[in-house]
Symmetry: C2
Subunit: 354 residues, 2 copies
């Protein structure tokens, strides 16, 4: 099926565009009434992830409502540890939890060898169904958590109230075990991304949500190399697949992140887009980076901030490569009309820039 | 009284030292059994802060145990909003809470004009008593929260589970009110710092604990200028008083932070010390920056990480200026013997560097 809107893929390839493509992290989320209705129908978040028809339904909702330039698979980064037998579940208001966690070398050795197809087939099925239902309107992004970020959850047993301090302790007491675990996760993640690409994902995003907790030197040891392995693995099997790497809190390491070989880096709002472009724009595209709090503001402020970001990135010609996005997931408290305001402002201001 | 150990003040002035001075953020804290005993005696945290004899007792405990090169007043950054009538209290396991919070322009206008002496006299008394009890062993650091960080707590009504999203919303809906509030806080903070200096504080540290939540451009508008006003105000009244500004999560803005005119910047572990020194070392000293998780590791790893940090900063001659510290407060789970290991490693490795 011919792709009707290739703005997103063109921007990732740093080809000229006549306006900046836009999508938002967590665009299928709780700020949308139609999402909440589907979630209610599903009963809980995990059922929503594991039922391809429902995952497809919510994936398409923000495309239908706003005409975003890319769809992203509705899923969760913790499907991989779940498939490895840790028993993912969600406690209302407390985030993800595992029934089992990784506490020892034996736990790592005991992680099962899994066959991605059967173990995570529901994700592949969702990807295939979404592609079919999208009918070529916009490209579909698949995604994974980074090995370090997944290891954080697997060692802590769920989300953390103290920046995963108990996990970071391992870095300075049993770094060998951390590397063992990261190696195992990386193998599975490569297979997981390949499956998504085989089933129809047209770009792949790696979320290193907790990379920013690492010390400068630790990021180079415990996160960056494993992300690079994933990009290498995907480049071997799917050389044309664009990749995006987003390290939340990692604006100090844009060069190191770009050195993973990704097509684009995601940036948070701690850095201006002109600085990000100056540092890595000759090597990769840049995705980001509005503070999600902007979408809780007034239309006038939203327009001003979008305009500022677009002008900060600059021209959109050959070699440019900007994908407009937030610097983190959209807040559940975002008024739906503010997202419309953002989408229109991106089109208006970037049209002037092209 | 003659100061017997001026390593810390020499490092802040970027004069040569024969070893790197060291102290740790939150060095009087829950990892210390003697602190817990005093806290138990006090009944609760706030009484500990508000009773000069007890605040003095816990301030000196880590000096007695480890021989740190600086003492820091035991207090809390929220004493200022408390003095402004917000009613500070602590809920066990949940952090600080206020009985009242700032929700409107009327609330800001309604903040009382306070006389620092009576309103925060217990802090001044603690400073004076600590100076007396220190008997010139090491210098005493006073401190304050930054206006932005204090505003975060005052608007949210306490600590936040969502990175103060409800406060950041104000930046994009009522920035005028945020500036009004920041202006009011700044006035009080300048008086508060001056009082601490008058009573004997020998250096002043500004904690911008939540500066890192701000977008790049917002930091320049809502945090940096108000910190600069504080430094300016202190420079006018106490020109010889060294100042340290620590913006947690602000390693992207070292130059902007240095431009406040501070004597030293605190840095977290997201940046290496050689990079920090290269960026601002010609303008100010650098304090930091070990990941507090290192102190949960093994002695061998602690030594390796300390050695790495010391070598990264480099030589200690004229114009150097390194104060060894963590990149954030010490964890309550830190074994006491690991702190001893750190202190010894700093002396050993920096002695080789001098």
């Amino acid at each position: 099926m011919t792709l009707q809107n290739d703005l997103f893929l063109r921007a990732l390839a740093r080809k000229p565009v006549d306006r900046t493509p836009v999508w938002l992290m967590r665009q299928a989320g709780r700020y949308l009434p139609e999402y909440n209705a589907t979630r209610k129908k599903a009963g809980n978040f995990l059922t929503l992830c594991k039922t391809p028809e429902l995952a497809c339904e919510v994936t398409l909702q923000p495309i239908d409502r706003y005409g975003f330039d890319a769809a992203i698979l509705f899923s969760d980064i913790l499907t991989v540890p779940d498939a490895l037998g840790l028993g993912l579940h969600f406690v209302e208001g407390e985030g993800p939890r595992f029934h089992r966690r990784i506490t020892s070398e034996a736990d790592i050795a005991g992680l099962p060898q899994i066959d991605i197809g059967p173990a995570l087939g529901y994700v592949g099925d969702a990807v295939a169904l979404i592609r079919q239902e999208l009918q070529g309107r916009v490209p579909l992004i698949g995604f994974t958590g980074s090995p370090w970020t997944l290891a954080c959850y697997m060692i802590s047993g769920g989300s953390s109230g103290d920046d995963f301090l108990s996990v970071r302790k391992w870095l300075y007491s049993r770094p060998d075990l951390v590397h063992q675990l990261l190696g195992r996760i990386t193998e599975v993640v490569i297979g997981y991304c390949r499956m998504q690409a085989d089933r129809g994902a047209q770009a792949m995003m790696v979320f290193d949500s907790w990379g920013g907790l690492l010390a400068d030197a630790a990021f180079e040891k415990f996160s960056q190399p494993y992300i690079r392995r994933i990009i290498d693995g995907l480049t071997q099997s799917h050389p044309a697949l664009p990749t995006i790497v987003f390290v939340k809190g990692g604006s100090g390491w844009l060069e190191k992140t770009a050195a993973t070989g990704c097509s684009a880096i995601g940036v948070d709002w701690s850095i201006s887009l002109d600085q990000a472009r100056a540092r890595v724009g000759s090597r990769c595209a840049v995705q980001g980076n509005l503070d999600p709090a902007v979408l809780l503001g007034t239309p006038a402020h939203i327009r001003a901030e979008v305009g500022q970001a677009i002008r900060s990135f600059g021209t959109l010609g050959e070699g440019a490569g900007h994908v407009f996005n937030l610097g983190h997931g959209i807040s559940q408290f975002t008024p739906v009309e503010n997202v419309q305001c953002l989408v229109e402002a991106v089109a208006e201001f970037s049209g002037q820039q092209a």
